[in-house]
Every structure is written in structure tokens, then in C-alpha cells.
């Protein structure tokens, strides 16, 4: 597993060069944006159950066949497995966002996930849709762009210092896209 710092070390070691210049500039920006990043991770972890349950609910609302007899979320046991998987994916995304590197997500979560889902008969399209909804709500919470209209009675805004966190929103979005790309 790597983070932003060890990633630059591993790639520098491959060419037996010290880490300097432009590599350090990237790391300095990680350091200077550090508090924003921790706030972003906090935005995900504090709202984890809401993000996950909303995503699974949305997925089922769009495709109600899932909870009818024979559907993949039909008995509570399988619905629970679905919620659990959503939480696991979101957890590894929060690790990746904290580390500033996708390797933990790739190694520990996505490697073999699609094959497992196919073997178990899980519809990967639905899984990808649930992750897409998680992406929408998580990025809205990180960027504080969510509104009462879209949040409904579960609307919540993180009370952090106002500022530009578009880079972090984009980075978090890229991890969700990575999951979507891996399962579909």
C-alpha cells in the first residue's frame, strides 16, 4: 500500500534518483491542502451510513425488480449484503482519499471484485449505479454544494471553513469512477 509520499519514493527509486524538484512540489501541495483533505475524509466518514443507504435506496427505486421475489436484493439477507458492500467500497474510498493515492483501493477492494460479483450473480450495472449515487452525495458533501432541495429531510451541510476544494472534489470523484470502471 502506498500514499502520495511513498508513491513518489517508489517511482524515484525505479530510476535511482532522489526525490526533488517537481515531485516535491506535488507533495508540498498535499501538505498545504492537508486540512482540507482531512475535512473531506471527515465529510465522508461522518455521513457514511446516510451516503450508503441513500445510494442503495436510490438504486432500488430506479429498478424495483431488485426487491421483488427473485430480485438480487429480495430477502433481507441479500439486501444487508448489498448495504455492507456499499459501506466497504465507501470505506476504501475514504482510505484512498486520506492517502492521496488509489493503491489501497485497488489492492484491497477492487482487485477481483468484478469476478466475484459475476460469480455470485450480482448485477454489476446496479452496483455501478449505487456507486455513482454515492459519488454524487459524497462529492456534494465534500464541496458543500448540496442543497435542501436535493437532500430532502436528510439534508446536511458540513460546517467547515469556506474555500476552494474543487481539486479534492475531483480527486474523490476519480476514486468513485475507478470503482465504477472496475465493476462494469
Amino acid at each position: 500500500m502506498l500514499d502520495a509520499f511513498s508513491r513518489s519514493v517508489v517511482s524515484a527509486d525505479a530510476k535511482t534518483a532522489p526525490v526533488g524538484g517537481s515531485d516535491l512540489a506535488v507533495l508540498r501541495s498535499y501538505v498545504s491542502q492537508g486540512n482540507k483533505r482531512l475535512d473531506a475524509v471527515n465529510a465522508i466518514t461522518s455521513n457514511a451510513s446516510c451516503i450508503v443507504s441513500d445510494a442503495v435506496t436510490g438504486m432500488i427505486c430506479e429498478n424495483t425488480g431488485l426487491i421483488q421475489a427473485g430480485g438480487n436484493c429480495y430477502p433481507n439477507r441479500r439486501m444487508a449484503a448489498c448495504l455492507r458492500d456499499g459501506e466497504i467500497v465507501l470505506r476504501y474510498i475514504s482510505y484512498a482519499l486520506l492517502a492521496g493515492d488509489a493503491s489501497v483501493l485497488d489492492d484491497r477492494c477492487l482487485n477481483g471484485l468484478k469476478e466475484t460479483y459475476i460469480a455470485l450473480g450480482v448485477p454489476t450495472q446496479s452496483a455501478a449505479r449505487a456507486v455513482a449515487i454515492m459519488k454524487a452525495s459524497a462529492t456534494a458533501l465534500i464541496g458543500e454544494t448540496n442543497s435542501p432541495a436535493s437532500g430532502g429531510k436528510r439534508f446536511r451541510k458540513m460546517e467547515t471553513t469556506q474555500g476552494d476544494c474543487s481539486a479534492l472534489v475531483a480527486e474523490a470523484g476519480s476514486y468513485f469512477d475507478r470503482v465504477i470502471g472496475a465493476v462494469s
Binding site: V9, G20, V31, G34, R108
Partner: protein
């Protein structure tokens, strides 16, 4: 590769929980100290060749017998390898300064070094001498800021202790 962030993530993953407030605080502490580390890494990267040369010269000056026939540095090829190894140690120190932990030195420098040096019947004393010279030669604020120098020297001491 071990660093503060990967340690935190590994622990959280083993427990199957999201990063907690404690985890975020640990990362925050690491970030606060990062500026000095990165400064030291930058200065060391910029002067790596010069520092290596000075360190190697110091060691051959002190142990001049190393260049006599039958000793560890009796040909130019062997002398060059000594300088190369010093460069490797300093480069690994640069990596340690970047990740903020001894992971790169442990994994790529120190693990197995003792066995290798013994089997090649190389003395580790001259390496210690060279790195000690570097440590004592570096000074603030000429080379880097005091806090950065402190970080740099602590990794030099780590290698010196491992080799002596």
C-alpha cells in the same frame, strides 16, 4: 511502504472501520512536521553528488590504508563502488525524509546489509566515518533551516547506528 498514513489506514482496515478522529489527528500531526522534512529532502537532493563526494573523501582520508593492495579499496572500481554505496544511503535518507519514516532505509538499505558486508568481507567502519563526517559537517542555516537539519541528522544517526 510504511508511513504514517499507511500505518493509520492499515490499522483502520484491520478493524474494518472508517478513519476515526484519532486517525485524522495522527495524519494532521505528520503534516505539520512535513515542511521541514520536505525542505531537507529538497536540499539533499540538490546537493546529493557533492555530499557523497565529500563523505567518501573524508572516509578515504581517515582510512588511507584502504587503498593499499589487498584492502577493500585497492582498485578504482572498488573505490567507485564505495562512493556509489554512500550515494545510495544518502538517496534512501532523502526518501525517508519524504515519507517521514525509516521505511525506505529499513527495506532497501539496512535489511541484509550486515550479511552482505560480512560475506564480501567489507568493513562498515569507513561508512560510519563517512556518514559521521556528513552529519558533523552539515550546519544550519548554511545548508538548511535548523528544524530541517534536525530531521536530516536523525536519519543519518539511524544509519550510523545500524552500521556500527
Amino acid at each position: 511502504m510504511k508511513s504514517v498514513v499507511t500505518t493509520v489506514v492499515t490499522a483502520a482496515d484491520a478493524a474494518g472501520r472508517f478513519p476515526s478522529q484519532n486517525d485524522l489527528e495522527a495524519v494532521q500531526g505528520n503534516i505539520q512536521r512535513a515542511a521541514a522534512r520536505l525542505e531537507a529532502a529538497e536540499k539533499l537532493a540538490a546537493g546529493l553528488d557533492a555530499v557523497t563526494r565529500e563523505a567518501g573523501d573524508a572516509c578515504f582520508n581517515k582510512y588511507a590504508y584502504l587503498k593499499q593492495p589487498g584492502e577493500a579499496g585497492d582498485s578504482q572500481v572498488k573505490v567507485d563502488k564505495c562512493y556509489r554505496d554512500l550515494g545510495h544511503y544518502l538517496r534512501l535518507i532523502n526518501y525517508c525524509l519524504v515519507v517521514g519514516g525509516t521505511g525506505p532505509l529499513d527495506e532497501w538499505g539496512i535489511a541484509g546489509a550486515r550479511e552482505v558486508y560480512r560475506s564480501l568481507s567489507l568493513p562498515t567502519g569507513p561508512y560510519v566515518e563517512a556518514l559521521t563526517y556528513t552529519r558533523d559537517r552539515a550546519c544550519a542555516p548554511r545548508d538548511m533551516s535548523p528544524q530541517a537539519l534536525n530531521e536530516f541528522k536523525s536519519y543519518l544517526d539511524y544509519v550510523i547506528n545500524a552500521l556500527s
